[in-house]
Assembly symmetry: C2
Homo-oligomer: 230 residues x 2
């Protein structure tokens, strides 16, 4: 056997780009907008021009999941929208639990954007006895964190939102993962670890702000780069 020198045998790879799901979400938002405006038919070019996207990328992103267009015509707005909802798993109710009922947690519980996008706030948890039993401005009752496993095991929690202080975030995440929750939206400024099979999305205000500060500080030096949507 000829010893090939560290030739790398590759796994099949993920094919779909890390950013594709986020872009699909944007496309869906665009289609909702078009539908509201009464536009029955669109095309990758039309979408690209209206919303400052790239036509080829739209087609590539969609191509991974199927062929939803009609050559020479484009896409039927409501048809493509339905496909995207399916791909994104939004064609069924999604339950969200928020852990941490501080300012941020309560604001998130009342945030209308979640409801508008079809997500349901299932519960708001905190371990501070002074908070338990009270409710958010919008009327979401704060329950004790001890109840989380019961709610989770009832299968009502699809996504757990972490809105606790950074020092306790990892412990909270560990207990949530133990109940079988597979998706976490983390608002705490800490790099949490989860086992394979659990997906985490970090929403990092501080990092975003510091990146902006960087661009202010560096000025035109490092950055004539265009703003990206993501």
């Amino acid at each position: 056997m000829p010893a090939r020198k560290k030739k790398k045998q590759r796994a099949p790879a993920y094919a779909v780009s890390e950013f594709t799901p986020a872009r699909l979400s944007i496309y869906l938002r665009c289609l909702k907008d078009l539908e509201k405006s009464g536009v029955k038919t669109t095309s990758s070019r039309d979408l690209a021009e209206r919303y400052h996207l790239n036509a080829a990328q739209i087609r590539k992103d969609l191509a991974y999941f199927g062929a939803f267009g009609v050559r020479g015509v484009g896409y039927y707005t409501s048809d493509l929208k339905a496909h995207l909802r399916g791909i994104l798993g939004l064609d069924r109710p999604l339950g969200i639990a928020i852990v941490g009922a501080g300012n941020l947690g309560r604001a998130l519980a009342d945030y209308q954007g979640f409801h508008q996008a079809g997500f349901q706030i299932v519960a708001l948890f905190d371990n501070d006895p002074d908070r338990v039993g009270r409710q958010s401005r919008g009327g979401v009752v704060i329950r004790h964190s001890d109840e989380l496993p019961d709610v989770a095991r009832a299968g009502d929690i699809d996504v757990a939102v972490i809105a606790v202080p950074a020092p306790v975030a990892q412990a909270v995440v560990d207990s949530i993962v133990a109940t079988g929750v597979k998706a976490i939206l983390n608002f705490s400024p800490s790099a949490i670890k989860v086992p394979a099979g659990v997906k985490v999305k970090n929403v990092e205000f501080t990092i975003s702000l510091e990146s902006l500060s960087f661009f202010l500080a560096q000025g035109s030096k490092a950055n004539a780069a265009p703003n990206k949507i993501l």
Copy 2:
């Protein structure tokens, strides 16, 4: 002149990756943590192991801004931290104005993470007369949006945070950009447009949630991909 067929003459390009500023922010967070633990010296390998980063990437990211290490030794914690603060422009006070005093805007005004990271909330604006004059839970007074230009022109606003409903976001952004603000943190679910030279970072809860939903829906099919920090 030999007609070269669409040979592309390239601009110098941006050299530093789009994600580098965000990673620098993470490195800074790590260094703060190390300093608090009394660790005087570290290395790219040490940082990578402790915080699950990539040693080569840390060195590459830093290399763009200078040579801050000592060969054979590594980096002096407080020294590298100071350099990063300088690169990120955090060695001076940064003023933040929040526009939109709904649940989210008020929660952001009270969010301790901003203060901890050295940002100063300069003002909280809203155009609803019922809100103007009242204050957030944490005591930040809500001022009328009409006052924004005065505050901005006084030079107190480095970053404007957009926490208004999507339909009015673009109009609000336009007026802010007109006052000379160069950095915007956008929490509204809308693709806002700004002129070149203005930097926007979008914080999209809905997109993050829908991406999580995607991974739940697709299951192991499309995604054995590891969780990224960013």
